[in-house]
């Protein structure tokens, strides 16, 4: 035990004395979180819209008020005829025009349906998509509250032709994604680098010659990063909650347990990489290209999995981050318990076991 402790102590010295390691551990997570956070925030704040109201009755007025008080939209202009729409888009400032059909209130109460047309500036498709989905969300919400007995309350015609994208609805999607990314970075990349560094410097031989058992060496290498990763996950959730208002609807303990599971999986991957890589550069390269990029691109963090080509969708099934992101979104945003994420959890446990077995097999007790 004292053997292991002195080894772990040394490992912490390595971490705290290397400015680069410290930067990756503590600087990058916060920077990434703030960058992703503010980027997504600015997309849905203060979007300029114009309204062409052909009815000007109570209902359209109330919907307009709802839209403008949501904080997402600023009214640029009230339009008086259809020709103005084209002109106002050309100016570029207005991103969306909401057109209410004539006799809106009357049609709604009598026929149960009324026309709203949302026309968005799709030169920036991402923003357009978000703006349209926010607007229709607010309108539907309003009509549902006013007429709870109607099943198909409003017909909304959107001029922007695109698939409705549920994932994009949530402004909070980046916190789970960043969490997966950072934990992958710290756990897998840093572990693999720190192990290959010992190989490169020749100190690994000294350790292998010593009475330390290979298991103890692995634990000693991995434990500091496990603790630091947990601390990091904690900070990310905290910043997400305090700065960006991302809720933690579900159990915090379950969230942390799932996070630890994901960290363990990433640590095992790190060990696996270190058994394949001969030096720090290779380890870093494998981690970057083999782990970071797929985590960003294929996990559903930025690009919705549903929209991917079939081959990539299939590939995304082997991305551990995909399951972790689903779990975190479920717990944080939807407040679900283990009953709803047991499948993903099981897959992560399976992956972890697989990597443990594989890396223990490959970790060379006797270097050739």
């Amino acid at each position: 035990m004292t053997q292991l402790l002195s080894f772990i102590k040394k490992e912490f010295f390595h971490i705290f004395r290397d400015p680069r390691t410290m930067l990756i551990l503590f600087g990058i997570p916060i920077a990434q979180l703030l960058i992703f956070g503010t980027v997504i925030k600015s997309e849905i704040r203060d979007v300029h819209i114009a309204i062409y109201d052909q009815s000007k009755d109570v209902t359209t007025q109330e919907i307009t008020n709802k839209l403008l008080s949501s904080g997402y939209f600023i009214l640029d202009k009230n339009l008086e005829n259809t020709n103005d729409i084209d002109a106002i888009f050309r100016k570029g400032k207005v991103k969306e025009v909401v057109v209410f059909g004539s006799n809106f209130s009357e049609k709604l109460t009598k026929e149960g349906k009324a026309d709203v047309q949302l026309i968005a500036d799709a030169s920036d498709p991402n923003t357009a998509r978000l703006v349209v989905s926010y607007t229709s969300g607010i309108i539907n919400d309003y009509v549902k509250k006013m007429h709870p007995n109607l099943e198909m309350p409003l017909q909304i015609q959107s001029e922007v032709r695109m698939y409705f994208n549920e994932e994009m609805k949530s402004a909070y999607m980046f916190v789970p994604g960043v969490m997966a990314l950072i934990l992958m970075l710290i756990s897998a990349m840093m572990t693999s680098i720190s192990i290959t560094r010992e190989k490169e410097l020749g100190t690994m031989e000294i350790l292998l010659v010593s009475p330390l058992k290979p298991g103890q060496i692995i634990i000693g290498k991995v434990l500091p990063y496990l603790l630091l990763s947990i601390a990091n996950a904690f900070v990310i959730v905290l910043i997400g909650n305090l700065v960006f208002g991302v809720p933690i609807s579900g159990s915090f303990i379950l969230l942390m347990l799932e996070t630890i599971l994901f960290i363990m999986m990433a640590l095992c991957l790190g060990i696996l990489i270190s058994t394949a890589a001969k030096n720090q550069m290779t380890a870093m390269f494998i981690s970057m290209v083999g782990l970071m990029l797929p985590t960003i691109i294929l996990s559903g963090f930025i690009f919705p999995i549903k929209n991917m080509p079939e081959v990539l969708q299939w590939l995304s099934h082997i991305m551990p981050a995909r399951y972790f992101i689903t779990i975190v979104r479920g717990i944080m945003l939807k407040g679900v318990g283990i009953l709803f994420v047991w499948k993903e959890t099981l897959i992560l446990i399976g992956m972890t076991l697989f990597f443990i077995v594989l890396s223990v097999k490959k970790f060379k007790i006797r270097l050739e």
Binding site: T2, Q3, L5, S6, F7, K9, K10, F13, H14, R17, D18, L201, G202, T203, E205, I206, L207, L208, V209, S210, P211, L212, R366, L367, E368
Partner: protein
Amino acid sequence: MANDHLTFDVHKGEIFGFLGANGAGKTTAIRILCGLSSPTSGDVNVAGFDIYRETEKIKKNIGYMSQKFSLYEDLTVSENIQLYAGIYGISAKKRKEKEAELLKKLGMGEARGKLIAGLPLGWKQKLAFSVAIFHDPKIVFLDEPTGGVDPVTRRKFWDLIYEAANNGITVFVTTHYMDEAEYCDRVSIMDAGKIEALDTPAKLKEKYQASNMDEVFLQIAR
């Protein structure tokens, strides 16, 4: 085939030189003896223990210093000593006594809290050796310990080796500096995975009618 039917005995407290050109199989042999590689066949005993069945006992009783200095550059002198003492299960009290004694002997008392990275090469090397025998092993393996060091520093390093041998520690050293071969009690010379000669430097010189070990080596390695 890096090693082919090597047979040799090393006596307690002896300085045993293991010579050979690059690629002759020295490193393979030393790795097998340290437990870093497995032999494909044969019987090997280290410090009186069998390398197949008593690996743990061997590990406690050997020291090892490689060509690369095996100290952590980003740790201080004292922290390095603490680490190795910890790994070998030496109590804190005993470690403190030995550490003070050692640093005094090496004249490095003031460098105690300095990072290894800032020390001169000669110091690093002496310290690496002292750390390798800090747990009083029965035998210490030195794999080309003096690579890239000037002759004066090398001479001083050998003083430490003599001292260790006088204290009863067996020293197993590989080198390709022939002047160092003269310092050994006995040397073996390897070529293409086989031991071609094994005796005291004096007897080898007599046998090959050479004035120094360099000539002996050249005759064999050719």
